[in-house]
């Protein structure tokens, strides 16, 4: 090969699990290091933002971007890397759908600060201090990146070419993506990389077309080890979730929570899970449907566990009766 493709990896608002998943390729990470010229990977190598800024636009072939966008710093890097990269991949559930930290969109910044810095039982803060973007200390000014009202997905901030879902993506998914990039066998831009099957398709549990009368909480029953969990009344999003994980969670007796996101053509993952769930309810009338759904607590938190920022809901709109208005820069997905 004349020249190796240039690869960048970045973590924005992330738990680090996606990075560890890349390292979890074990010895295969060698192939990645061999096949690519890694030009930016702050978790692993010393590169500075200035190095990226100095690169020509479009000079990075592929950027794997994990983590959501929730502060000015995340947004700055998203814009910078987009400009420098030919292909931008939203890596993992945080970047593609917002993941669990995206549930923060059910609340808002003020509520968070109020609890964390004032009301929590261990906080001792008689002067009512909260972290600020700028603090004047006697010696000078200390800066923190501005914290956003809303958790955004990468695609809400910059154009994204491909999505690699999973919280985190399994090693097999990462390998598949890397191979697709190397061989140029990528799906059309805008696609999710990975097979378009559901978790149910890969789940070894037996389905019997049984309908359910109610939901059970996971701690309420000990399910039969071989039968579909949903048919036993345990919430499982596998029915409307893309696989790629090999149905990991149902295999240890826990319902899928949907980390791999929706299948092809689905706009709103939560709505699709609801439809899937509705199909197993033993109900004739809308009232009966409602009655069964009432036995599932926190439906929004279940249906949108990994994809609230990416859903049609996006976030709660009001706090204390007032509309939450983000600063113009945040609304535009730009750093302040």
């Amino acid at each position: 090969m004349s020249e190796k493709p240039k690869l960048a990896l970045y973590w924005a608002s992330s738990c680090g699990g996606c990075e560890i998943a890349v390292l979890g390729l074990h010895e295969k990470i060698l192939n990645v290091a061999e096949a690519f010229d890694i030009v930016f990977w702050p978790c692993v190598m010393d590169f500075k933002y200035a190095d990226v800024e100095a690169m020509d636009d479009d000079s990075i072939d592929v950027c794997l971007f994990n983590g959501a966008i929730r502060n000015d710093e995340n947004a700055r890097l998203a814009h910078l890397l987009r400009r420098k990269s030919k292909v931008m991949v939203a890596f993992g559930s945080c970047a593609s759908g917002g993941s669990m930290p995206g549930l923060a969109n059910f609340t808002d910044r003020d509520a968070m600060f109020d609890w964390i810095y004032h009301k929590s039982p261990t906080t001792d803060n008689p002067d009512g201090i909260v972290p600020m973007k700028h603090t004047d200390v006697p010696e000078g000014d200390l800066e923190l990146p501005g914290f956003w009202h809303t958790v955004k997905t990468l695609a809400q901030v910059v154009p994204v070419d491909y999505f690699l879902p999973g919280c985190p993506p399994e090693a097999s998914s990462i390998e598949m993506a890397v191979n697709a990039i190397l061989t140029g066998q990528l799906p059309p831009p805008g696609s999710v990389i990975g097979p378009d099957v559901t978790v149910c398709d890969e789940c070894p549990r037996e389905k019997h077309e049984k309908k359910i009368k109610r939901f059970y909480r996971p701690y309420e029953i000990i399910p039969d080890p071989d039968t579909c969990l949903l048919e036993q009344g345990l919430f499982c999003a596998g029915i409307a979730t893309r696989s790629g994980c090999g149905a990991r969670c149902p295999q240890v007796g826990m319902g899928c929570r949907g980390c791999y996101g929706p299948n092809e053509g689905v706009v709103d993952h939560g709505a699709k899970i609801l439809t899937g769930i509705a199909s197993v309810l033993d109900a004739q009338t809308p009232e009966e449907v409602d009655a069964i759904l009432d036995t599932l607590p926190d439906p929004a938190g279940y249906f949108y566990r990994f994809h609230l920022p990416d859903s049609l809901l996006r976030r709660r709109a009001r706090a204390n009766g007032e509309k939450i208005v983000a600063p113009a820069s945040e609304a535009a997905g730009e750093p302040a």
């Binding site: 973590w11 608002s13 992330s14 738990c15 680090g16 699990g17 996606c18 990075e19 560890i20 998943a21 390292l23 979890g24 074990h26 990470i29 060698l30 890694i38 702050p42 978790c43 692993v44 190598m45 010393d46 590169f47 500075k48 933002y49 502060n71 710093e73 890097l77 993941s99 930290p101 549930l103 923060a104 059910f106 609340t107 968070m112 964390i116 929590s120 039982p121 261990t122 906080t123 001792d124 803060n125 201090i129 972290p131 600020m132 603090t135 010696e139 000078g140 923190l144 990146p145 985190p168 701690y219 029953i221 080890p225 969670c249 295999q251 240890v252 007796g253 826990m254 926190d298 938190g301």
Partner: protein, 497 residues
């Protein structure tokens, strides 16, 4: 006023940033350690069903998801007043020990170890796992990878996934293991015990046999006297999964010992406007600013702190090494932060021995691993020792078990103030009369690393030193001094997890 900024390269948003200010004479006037990240789990988990917490809170950290998974599970047991069957408890603890073995192995060989094995004076490019391998043989690299791999198998077998496990529920675990799996785990645990012995031997041969290293460990720049915290069993032996939290004062005397349910009587958190991360301290001593000593409520929660806070180890090989450490370092407590590496090796040995004990007990494969709760939930508190410090989960719910309040005191957060003090000590030792010694990066890095701070996952996944950059600016903002150390790309080849 001269200002020095140290950024862990590029990871500004998640990780710490150090600002040092010098006075007119060019000596350290003050310094700040800022954590610029907040994600707000304590708030957005409210409204969710409590039983989802082991799966929700693991996303706080992809490096130690198992710790959050376990702390949340224990808080749920308390919330629902349900006692898991013995097999369920043992299964959880065995899973947790497998995690400890991988985590401590990574830290010792890839991060802490290189400072000693290759030597703190070696060029940064050699102070990494490659350097360790060059010095003590290629076989070790293979052993480290194999250790991590086989324990990942156990974590996945029991927990469902390695990163973000799913199996813990109030009252136990979702699924038992089979007798065949137990036999596999026994074999893996045996290898872990051997690996622990091998690691201790390595530590003796390479570190303790070298008086320079021992002098370094005991040098004043790495010494600070604080309170120490750790979870202990009924014999006051170190325990990672269960027990009471014991705190000893800087003289080594028991200051308090509390059950998880009493943590708010003992711990408070201080807020500063320049960091998103709070500073926990002992409420009954009080917040006295960023100072060590008996009058300051600042405490440490590291492997060394756990050993300081306990009376011994519950397994024989670990106990033997525990005794050796305190003999060598002049009795308890040990205030040398770098001794945390020795303590970590002792804990690795303990985790391996404990895992084997649990695996050899046929009950761990009993099919009954979960009890169904019947009580009405109100409030639950669970504590485990995460590798980076005591981890507290506190939930309140409505009668349906929907969360109404969540408070979390996370491993590394405990050490927020001690890290700050360590940084200042390093700065004071190495910046004098305007002379900024390049060694400051190395020293701060070593001080940092003994805490194994989870602020930067970089410090876990890197097979080398922590990338740091130091910029000194004069009062007009002009750069007068610039130094950095980094990880060479060829190290990529050594990655695992």
């Amino acid at each position: 006023m001269t200002r020095i900024s140290i950024d862990p390269i590029t990871r500004l948003e998640g990780h710490g940033k150090i600002e040092i200010f010098l006075d007119q004479q060019g000596n350290v006037d003050n310094c700040y350690f800022q954590v610029p990240e907040l994600r707000g789990f304590e708030v957005f988990c409210v409204g969710r069903p409590a039983e989802e917490m082991p799966r929700l809170t693991s996303r706080i950290c992809g490096v130690c998801p198992e710790a959050h998974h376990m702390a949340a599970a224990k808080a749920l047991d308390d919330l629902y007043r349900v006692e898991p069957p013995l097999a369920g408890k043992k299964l959880r603890e065995m899973f947790y020990m497998a995690f400890y073995v991988t985590d401590h192995t990574t830290h010792f060989y890839a991060l802490g170890g290189p400072d000693f094995v290759v030597g703190p004076g070696a060029p940064p490019a050699e102070r990494n796992i490659l350097g360790v391998i060059a010095k003590v043989g290629l076989e070790i690299g293979g052993q480290v990878i194999a250790t991590r791999k086989r324990n990942h198998q156990v974590i996945e077998m029991i927990g469902g996934r390695t990163i973000h496990p799913v199996a813990a529920l109030p009252g136990g675990m979702s699924q038992p293991i089979t007798e065949e799996q137990r036999q596999q785990i026994i074999e893996i645990a045996r290898q872990n015990v051997e690996f622990g012995q091998f690691t201790i031997q390595l530590f003796h041969d390479v570190v303790l046999a070298n008086t320079d290293y021992v002098d370094l460990i005991t040098s004043p720049g790495y010494t600070q006297k604080t309170y120490y915290m750790g979870l202990v069993d009924e014999n006051n032996h170190v325990n990672f999964y269960d027990g009471k939290v014991r705190v000893v004062d800087p003289d080594g005397h028991e200051f308090c010992k509390y059950a998880p349910g009493e943590y708010t009587e003992h711990i408070a958190e201080h807020v500063e406007p320049w960091s998103y991360l709070k500073f926990p301290y002992l409420k009954n001593v009080g917040w006295k600013g960023f100072v060590d000593g008996k009058d300051s409520g600042i405490y440490c929660a590291t492997p060394l702190s756990r050993l300081n806070a306990a009376d011994g180890m519950a397994t024989p090989l670990a106990q033997a090494e525990y005794e050796r450490m305190y003999e060598t370092l002049g009795g308890k407590p040990v205030h040398h932060t770098l001794a945390a590496h020795w303590a970590r090796v002792i804990e690795l040995q303990y985790a391996a021995e404990r895992m084997l004990q649990l695996a050899e007990d046929p009950e761990v494969a009993d099919p009954v691993v979960r009890a169904i709760p019947t009580a009405t939930p109100t409030e639950g508190i669970g504590i485990v020792e995460a590798p980076r410090g005591t981890l507290t989960h506190h939930f309140k719910t409505d009668p349906d078990g929907i969360l109404t309040e969540v408070n979390l005191i996370v491993g590394t957060t405990n050490n927020n103030a001690p890290i700050y003090i360590s940084i200042r000590k390093a700065a004071e030792a190495l910046i004098q009369n305007g002379n900024v010694n390049d060694g400051i990066l190395n020293m701060i890095e070593m001080a940092f690393r003994s805490y194994d701070p989870c602020l930067s996952c970089a410090t876990h996944s890197l097979p080398g030193q922590m990338p740091l950059e130091l910029v000194v600016r004069d009062s007009r903002g002009a750069v007068t001094h610039h130094a950095s150390q980094y990880v060479p790309p060829e190290l990529l080849e050594q990655f695992d997890r």
